[in-house]
């Protein structure tokens, strides 16, 4: 359909095609041109061949020399007085480069968004579980594809101002400031046994026999709890759905979470699994029950590493409570009863010779560099979607506030608090795309951003994703205000899961983007998680998908944020802050976009980006075979 002058400007570089018959001698205007948003479909239908077509900016104001019919691409033989293409963007890039005094990274190539998206005003969602369901929703906001050109100049303006100030104080640029530090002492565990008391004896962890009864007694809603010690030889064991994977760690002495010393056991993780009395999995959309070795994506930040021992609890909660908030919470709390006893044992260790490794984390501020904030959207819809924020012990329960009870409002934390287990995650639907507690302990984006010397990571904001739309916008507006006050140059927004949470994910983009701050979003999208809403600020997206078919494959942590995603996002944000345009997404999800971006990054940085494996590296489960692959 014919386009407005504004749309024509946004699509200045797109091919010019007549929307309707136009007569010889007319001066070509936007209203004569077809909307480039539908070109893909037209080309697919064989209706359009764009070979040799001039761009919209070239034909506007030019004269048509021959009467042409609708859907006729305008080529130089029917247009007279073509306007020369303008190179407006280059000048801006130069400005940014100089004003900043640093070389914007990767100016050689634009990074392309790799997500499936909104096209031609219709969003396609495909749910391929069991039977095919296709849903199409009209999209009210501008599609991301349409808005990229427009957003960039606005972003440039925002970037330039602080940069220009900073250049007058060159010393400020170099001075790094360590705000706080965190030390992780690693204790190596090679064997987990049951014994008369919970204790750590060199590299053997003993768990007190009979502790199960106390766990059950501690929680009214917990009717049974079993402990299984799963060694690598026993990975091919059936398990109920994995509700969480947690590091076993404690603070040393009076240290507070996020600072001081943390002790952690290596080679062992806590694993919460469970059902209700009727054997119903504590999950909603999908669940990861099955043989452990077929349903865990090893070595994801949130998953167990291959070779680790699992202290796996199988908790049975009251029938029907699997979908009520107190149910899953009780399962977690009952499990934490064991973890807490291990923490006490770990705290009591006095023999420093048991420390196998020491890791130092420094929260470094880099004044003068581009100031960045990471906004992490966490689930807060209730039922099993909740997160305990800031417990006393790493990934503990005690002292933490459920973010649902906090109203899901944004909470600021330091990067080190994130890495020290400030989130105890109660999220177990869509296992492939949800962040387990362990994910935060090894959060790749926080780690990469913290150690990137070209940027200044000021902090992390956690914001819950409420169930009701009105509440989503309520919390989202607070995010916008909070980020505005931080005076940042760029922001990341990450989310977990897909669908409902994408509504606030989109709104966060809008709230931050409308303040002239470049934003890069990270989410699982691909095929099944294609965004349900969009707005003009959602131009820079990184897809966390790793699965072969772009789906929620119910393999634990398969599609969560990994280092490769963090690296792409960092480059994309740097590009966005430098005023580089991120290319439009392709019409359909195309895994090659990610590959070529990764290649681009490797080429420029000279460091190869190693890609993690996906579910294809696991033994094929019956469920996966039947449902997905």
């Amino acid at each position: 359909m014919s386009i407005s002058a504004e749309t024509a400007k946004e699509h200045a570089k797109d091919p010019a095609v007549l929307c309707c018959r136009a007569e010889e001698g007319i001066t070509i205007q936007a209203s004569n041109l077809e909307d480039p948003a539908i070109f893909d479909d037209l080309v697919d239908s064989g209706l359009l061949d764009l070979t040799g077509a001039l761009t919209i900016e070239q034909v506007l104001g030019a004269k048509l020399t021959k009467t042409c019919d609708s859907l006729c691409p305008l080529t130089s033989d029917v247009v007279e007085g073509i306007t020369a293409p303008t190179e407006k963007k280059d000048g801006k890039q130069q400005n940014v480069a100089y004003a900043d005094g640093t070389d914007p990274i990767l100016r050689t190539g634009s990074v392309q968004k790799d997500w499936t998206s909104v096209q031609g005003g219709v969003l396609k969602i495909h749910i391929g579980e069991g039977k095919d369901i296709d849903i199409e929703l009209p999209v009210t906001a501008a599609t991301p594809a349409e808005s990229s050109v427009q957003t960039v100049p606005a972003a440039c303006g925002a970037v330039q101002t602080p940069s220009a100030d900073k250049i007058q104080d060159p010393e400020a640029e170099t001075e790094e400031k360590t705000v706080r530090s965190l030390t992780r002492k690693h204790y190596r565990i090679k064997e987990v046994k049951r014994g008369p008391e919970t204790k750590i004896d060199k590299d053997v962890l003993y768990i007190r026999e009979g502790i199960e009864a106390e766990c059950v007694a501690s929680q009214e809603l917990v009717h049974d709890l079993k402990i299984d010690i799963i060694t690598p030889e026993e990975y091919h064991t059936y398990s109920e759905t994995i509700m969480d994977v947690q590091p076993v760690a404690c603070k040393e002495g009076d240290c507070e979470l996020g600072t001081g010393v943390t002790r952690v056991l290596d080679g062992v993780v806590m694993m919460v699994t469970g059902t209700d009395d009727n054997g119903v999995q504590i999950g909603e959309f999908g669940s990861s029950e099955g043989y452990l070795d077929e349903n865990i994506m090893w070595n994801r930040p949130g998953a167990p590493d291959k070779g680790e021992i699992f202290i796996k609890t199988q908790v049975t909660i009251e029938a029907g409570m699997n979908m009520e908030r107190p149910g899953p919470l009780a399962a977690h709390a009952a499990t934490d009863y064991i973890t807490q006893e291990i923490r006490e044992a770990l705290k009591a260790l006095e023999d420093d010779s048991l420390v196998a490794d020491i890791e130092e984390f420094h929260q470094v501020r880099r004044p003068g560099k581009k100031k960045i904030v990471i906004v992490k959207e966490i689930m807060g819809q209730g039922a099993m979607h909740d997160n305990l924020i800031l417990p006393v012990e790493p990934v503990g329960v005690l002292g933490a506030k459920p973010n649902v009870d906090l109203g899901n409002v944004p909470v600021c934390v330091s990067p080190l608090e994130v890495l020290d287990g400030c989130i105890h995650a109660l999220t177990c639907i869509g296992p492939a795309s949800k962040e387990m507690s362990r994910h935060y302990w090894r959060e790749p984006l926080v780690l990469e951003a913290l150690y990137d010397k070209e940027i200044d990571l000021c902090g992390v904001i956690f914001v819950g994703s409420p169930q009701i739309n009105a509440e989503k916008f309520y919390v989202s507006k607070r995010v916008g205000m909070m980020v505005e006050m931080m005076d940042v140059d760029g922001a990341f927004i990450t989310t977990e899961g897909f669908g409902n949470n994408h509504i606030d994910f989109a709104s966060h983009h809008e709230q931050i983007g409308m303040r002239g701050i470049p934003v890069v979003g990270l989410s699982f999208c691909a095929v099944q998680g294609a965004l349900v809403v969009g707005n003009k600020y959602m131009t820079n997206m990184v897809d966390n998908n790793k699965s072969e078919s772009g789906i929620e494959n119910e393999v634990l942590a398969c599609n969560t944020l990994c280092t490769e995603d963090a690296l792409r996002a960092l480059v994309m944000l740097k590009n966005a802050m430098a005023g580089e345009e991120v290319k439009k997404p392709e019409k359909k999800w195309n895994p090659n976009v990610k590959s070529s971006n990764v290649e681009l990054i490797s080429n420029v940085t000279g460091k190869p980006v190693e890609l993690v494996k996906n579910e294809q590296s696991l033994p094929m489960s019956k469920k996966r075979k039947e449902k997905y692959d």
Binding site: I38, S45, S70, L71, G120, V122
Partner: protein
Amino acid sequence: MENLQFLLKQHVGVPCRPVVEEGEMVEKGTLIAVPEGLGANLFSSVYGTVKEVREDRIIVCPDKMQKEEYVQLSEGTPLEMVKEAGIVGMGGAGFPTGIKLDVNLQGGTILVNVAECEPGLCHNIRQIEEQTDMTIEGARICKEITKASKVIFAIKAKNRHAVEKLRAVLQKEADMYIHLLPDIYPMGEERAVVRECLGKLLDPVQLPTAADAVVINVETVLRVAEAVKLRKPCFSKNITVIGKLKGGEEPHVYMDVPVGTSVEDMIERSGGIDGVYGEIIMGGPFTGRAVNLEEPVTKTTGGIIVTIDFPDLHGAPVGLLVCACGGSEERMRDICNKMHGTVVSVAKCKQAAEMQNKALKCENPGNCPGQAAKCLQFKKDGAQYIIIGNCSDCSNTVMGSAPKMKLKVFHQTDHVMRTIHHPLYRRLRVSKQEEQLPGGK
């Protein structure tokens, strides 16, 4: 002669209130209903007896003997007489003319709409050819009432005979001109006339007065002259009857048909329906609606069309492209039903703006905004056929994409066009530019 039915609502506004009772004798020109708010007086078009006063109509049994004389309007200013005469827009809109002309154009323009845009209708052109002087007299009166400085007759160039006739008479009229229109639908749309003649595109919500103009149908102009010069109330209508009629598909043009006459009467006068037919349309092929034989002629009835039978789609999936130029969605669905199609997708032309009264108006009549996206929608929704009601330009655009997508295209006027041997609305082969007469004369 059968009973006549006078609908109490033949105009834009609220229905009239009857002022006669059952059994009352009426004459030709007797006031039988008066407006209750926005509306226009209603007069009997025959001598006879009021047989029944219903909620929505007055039924009059006509006398066997009918005289030419009628009850004359009382004297007054021209505007008062127009109001008194109950004249409404006879092009089909039915807006009370007395209200339309009650405006000071301060040297603006009277645009006489002679486009007769609906294919198949001929009575407007016939009027120009046969009643040139009275028509010009009416235009002059309109110009004086509105204090306009000039009159422009907007007429399609293809009507050569009528144009020549008009030209000859207008040579001696100082402030009257001709604007030639291309043969494209919908050049007769009010705002299209303004745009073509005055070069100003109005918003759908704007009235022509925003361009210092009044657009008035050519037959309405004639009725104005009759009211002022002959003191004649508005009770008759010029009509074209055409279609699948015994004796052929040539148009039958009737001048001064008494309002209230039934469709059946008119069809019988024209030879009667020739065998199996599709539907009877009152109005034009684009904007008319299907009616039954009992339906009476009103002040806004332009055409009565008997069509050939519809093609049978045997339940095939159909997409409807609704726009302001053609029928409403209801009418499009009616046609689809008659073709035994199943509606699977409905799209509205981008330019069709919905007015407060739910009616659609085109934002730029006759200039297509592109339709490829709509065709993509139909294809996606699984349509095999599409029915469009679009103007010449938009139909052309649809033809640019739909057939290549393997969508078979029907135009809502197809059955009429096939009946009257008029080219179907598909590709546009004529220019939108029309060369004008020197000095508009």
